[in-house]
Symmetry: C2
Subunit: 246 residues, 2 copies
């Protein structure tokens, strides 16, 4: 049902059963009414970004609000595994693109970390605009679950403190010492964390610390990839790994 | 030597031997002199985009021209295989991004084709600005060979006429009938062509024709990928396939 027009309804407003009526307000209601000119009795798809989606019938619609009745409701189980990327913070205008691709390529999560070569200071908490990017991307590509979003302070030490949450941890290292290619097989089972440096790369001290702590150094290939391309490359291998049955 | 500042010198001006002197003019010379403030006696890297690169010493430099002496010259053999993407034409502002990623992820070539659902008319010949995008991307990522760039008229029939140049041809099809995932193994040997639809997807007539002609229908996964994400996904699997020794 992904080809129907899709709108986001927050989890705390999600209906308990078919026949329940919900209200859409704010930008999502404007998108439905003003931009897509949705009409009474049309069927649309709503999702909550936490694994729930459903078909709804428009009962009433105005410029800034809509009333919808649940016709069909589905709940999709959380995947056991998936790829989380820990990405060195940067002020790059390529960040929006990166956030969009994490959703499309079904990443499990994104953690921004403050690297020695990061440009600018990492915000203490994820920004609402980042989550908004996720929502818009999910509406487009039909994904039911938004990636987890986090920021971690304390540089590499902050990352090491999180390592226990993952089954495997890797470091995408641009140095010649990294000769093992990251592979879909490394990303296909359980929870995996891949750490990517900021634009400008890891400081040697950071790479050393991670490798000593057991993060496996891997290469992404012979090309010098841009920040967001490194992320998209990892996500592509993981999405392939998740569907590979060979 | 990829971390040195890199500039593009066209093939017809490439020096025959070490000690020869070449001249850089136009935007590349301005980039060298005005933006990067390169000075006399500095060493830089030049490449021709056709597999040649080398180290050069700056003998003389002004705002719009530079004179350089060849210190070391290398010629990299053309790869036997590689992935060529045939992408349904679109006027999307995401095209520049796509061209950049083809270089970074070491695609062999890009062919734009006029699909039934293409928005706008495909230019008869590749535009100089597209090649310029390739050059700028290659300067950044250190790739020595620019992808081949072509446009093909006649819709799907134009593509079928080119199929003989490839060892294997696939169709990245968003329909449920496509259940075989595109895999790195399909892309790791010989010359492979993957056809991607325009934004809006293939018309069923186009998919039918390609499949009947022997193009293998493959899925890129469960997500509805944007135009340029589909391309980047295929390129990522191909770049992994080319380095996989397992």
């Amino acid at each position: 049902m992904a080809r129907l027009n899709t709108f986001h309804l927050p989890t705390d407003q999600w209906p308990a059963r078919v026949g329940d009526v919900v209200r859409l307000t704010g930008p999502e209601a404007r998108h439905m009414g003003t931009i897509l000119r949705t009409e009474k009795a049309q069927t649309v798809r709503l999702f909550d970004g936490q694994g729930r989606d459903g078909l709804f019938s428009v009962r009433d619609i105005a410029k800034n609000r809509a009333e919808l009745e649940a016709l069909e409701l589905a709940e999709h189980p959380a995947p056991a595994g998936g790829l989380t990327l820990a990405i060195g913070w940067g002020k790059s205008k390529r960040r929006d693109y990166l956030l969009e691709k994490v959703v499309e390529l079904q990443g499990r999560g994104v953690i921004f970390w403050q690297a020695i070569r990061s440009q600018g200071a990492l915000p203490e908490d994820p920004k609402a605009t980042w989550n908004e990017k996720f929502i818009q991307a999910a509406k487009q590509c039909g994904v039911v679950r938004l990636p987890e979003l986090d920021t971690v302070s304390g540089g590499v030490d902050g990352l090491l403190a999180m390592a226990g949450e993952f089954d495997r941890c890797y470091l995408a290292w641009e140095a010649e010492e990294a000769t093992t290619p990251l592979s879909p097989g490394m990303l296909s089972k359980g929870r995996t964390l891949v750490v990517i440096g900021p634009e400008g790369g890891f400081d040697p001290v950071e790479a050393d610390k991670l490798i000593h702590a057991g993060f496996g150094p891997v290469t992404l290939g012979p090309s010098i990839l841009r920040w967001e391309t490194a992320a998209v490359y990892c996500l592509s291998l993981a999405m392939f790994g998740a569907q590979d049955r060979s």
